[in-house]
């Protein structure tokens, strides 16, 4: 599947819908969307990952980049990551820095 990263910002909540394979070739597209979101005054970042099939090191790097740019006060939600993606995030310890859920409910 072709990689897609679509951003929408509603009520200061940035949602990025990810689909396909997030690797070294596609990570720059994801980073672009993160940077777009960072330009806005957002209170949380929601990554809809249901259709993300694969994540390589480059994808993790962008996630860490987002967390470091947003700081501790802006939460990042990972919604419905597939097993492989979820395990990768857990094995590398990044799950401590984000909230992993099956759905996003606005607080």
């Amino acid at each position: 599947m072709t990689f897609k990263a679509n951003l929408e910002i509603i009520n200061e909540i940035a949602k990025i819908t990810l689909a396909g394979e997030l690797d070294a070739n596609t990570a720059p597209l994801f980073k672009e969307q993160i940077e777009r979101a960072l330009k806005e005054n957002i209170k949380c970042l929601v990554l809809l990952m249901q259709d993300l099939e694969y994540m390589a090191s480059a994808g993790l790097r962008v996630l860490i980049f987002a967390k470091q740019k947003l700081g501790a006060t802006v939460d990042i939600y990972l919604i419905k990551p597939q097993e492989m993606v979820r395990e990768t995030i857990e094995n590398t310890g990044f799950h401590h820095s984000v909230v992993i859920n099956d759905e996003y409910q606005s607080p």
Binding site: L60, N91, T92, G93
Partner: protein, 706 residues
Amino acid sequence: MVIERIDIHPTHRYEHFKLRRGRPFPFGATLVPGGVNFSIYSRHATSCTLVLFKKYAPQPMAEIPFPEEFRIGNVYSMVVFDLDYENLEYGYRFEGPDNFAEGHWFDKSKILLDPYAKIIGGRDVWGVTPDWNNIYQHRARIAFDDFDWEDDRPLEIPPEDLIIYEMHVRSFTQHPSSRVKHPGTFAAIREKIPYLKDLGVNAIELMPIFEFDEFENSRPSPVTGEKLLNYWGYSTVGFFAPKAGYAATGKLGMQVDEFKALVKDLHKNGIEVILDVVFNHTAEGNENGPYISFRGIDNKTYYMLTAEGYYFNFSGCGNTLNCNNPIVRNMVLDCLRYWASEYHIDGFRFDLASILGRDPWGAPLANPPLLEALAFDPILAKCKLIAEAWDAGGLYQVGSFPAYGRWLEWNGKYRDSIRQFLKGDGNVGEISQSLQGSPDLYAPAGRSPATSINFVTAHDGFTLADLTSYNHKHNEANGENNNDGTNDNYSWNCGVEGWTHNPGVNALRQRQMRNAIAILLVSQGIPMLLMGDELGRSQNGNNNTYCHDNELSWLNWDLLHQNSTLFRFVKNCIAFRHAHPVLRNRQHFQNHDYVGSGYADITWHGTQAWKTDWSNHIRTIAFMLCGKHALQGMVEDNYIYVAMNMHWESHWFEIPGLPTDMQWHVFANTGCNPPNDCYEPGTEPLLTNQSSILLGDRSVVILIGK
């Protein structure tokens, strides 16, 4: 408004690559604005070429010669701009003399691994047979330092408070009974942190985790036909990179993150991480070994060579790293600083550390600069530095390792004396020193009891279960005609060689394992347990399983149910040690009463209180620690009395009297059946007869006066 940096821009071109003169330091590949700074040392090369690959590609995508003006002294450095560093692998070619007698092995046809590579691909998934036709086997990649450590840092647990658990990453969880998601990996150790916490250890010592090649010298077993591997990994390919095959995410190139996540979680649970590091030799082996890195970059700098150009072999593994050459010394320092600062590692155990004290021609140095530099390094200042204080060339320095007030030692003499005592050799004089933190070895030089890493078993040699089940090693499965592994095991099989149904023999073995654990955990110094000894893990008498990726090496977690009483005993002994600072003194005993308690800090006894028979062949001894002298009188602890009977007959021990307001309670008696062999600290029952106690044959009693 802040202006972006405008001082780093390309000045040169090679084909379509934009280049600039690089920075010589740091060595390795470093991300800089707009590009990657490549820097590498070679004294004897005449030219150097950077070789770039797309990740996994069989052939290079580019080869960029370092312009001569980019070499400063013996360092080639260059910035290459606009590289897709996520998709990049790199190596080097060096040109120079190829003259064996002169020690030069330059060969421009070889692509060489950067000694400072922070991630190494090529063996991404454990045990996947490599493509031997690949022209670049171990492939350097670029690492990132964006891991989120939050507020983590090394724990700095005082050395005397440590209880170390030595383990092999893969062996710990590879057995199916471990029931972890990713067996044999760093991630799996994280899953087992609750087990380590429950056991009570506060440091794990990982057998080598620097990138190595499990296929080095791989061969079929003459016994089973199964492939034998370089399983333990005491043969480093790259000193700065974690073993990819130990990471569940190694296939994704995230081994750095996964290992850091393990360290972070262990720290959160109060457990330090000590790495077993192997600087005495490399995976390039002897004159017949492969070109991987050092040999083709600057053989004469990195290796100790004979006058004829052959490799010295003080390591027993074919070559010897030239650690007191200033370049190599700096590489070792850079490496350890990197692991301490980038991975928050708490300590290092140096394999065959005596080699690090030899000069470039092999002679032992009185004041080895590398050992001194490590001892006084500002970044390593709080790291534990532990020497395996001997080498394969006959240098044995237990008690005399150049310490500079910092170095701790694996105490091989402790291991041997306790083993001999356990099997009934009656060496009470010798073990009295071992029990006190070996003041005979360390006190004269002002070195503390915690200089001594006390152990009865370690990865080299028998497991504890085998120490009580075999008189001789049984290494036939290693394919070396049983010639490998030590013959000096000081073991005793309790009457039958190997596995048996005999209940008497099995009961005695259980008791002997408990005796060893009890003695280890009441000894002054730092106790170290071998993975699985708390569960009675056996290697079927093999005392050198360096090549076995199978059940001989793997920890069978079902033993936790089969040997639950042994686990309970070990756990209680660990908790007992943590509970009693009098067992963890910072200074050696003074053998007199310096706090006015009416008791000396330590007193010695035999079957009669206050009288000790130090004759050879005496197999009974006891000692009492005065709780008021704990930590040199800084804190008040209970009194502790330990009686040991390694005779094959029972003996009554007269117990020394306590201050009037105290009574003796029983913490452990290995002569009793579980659950009366030991108690949870704080629940010890009152001893019925306060004046004497019968110790069964080959048993240990620990009393607590409170």
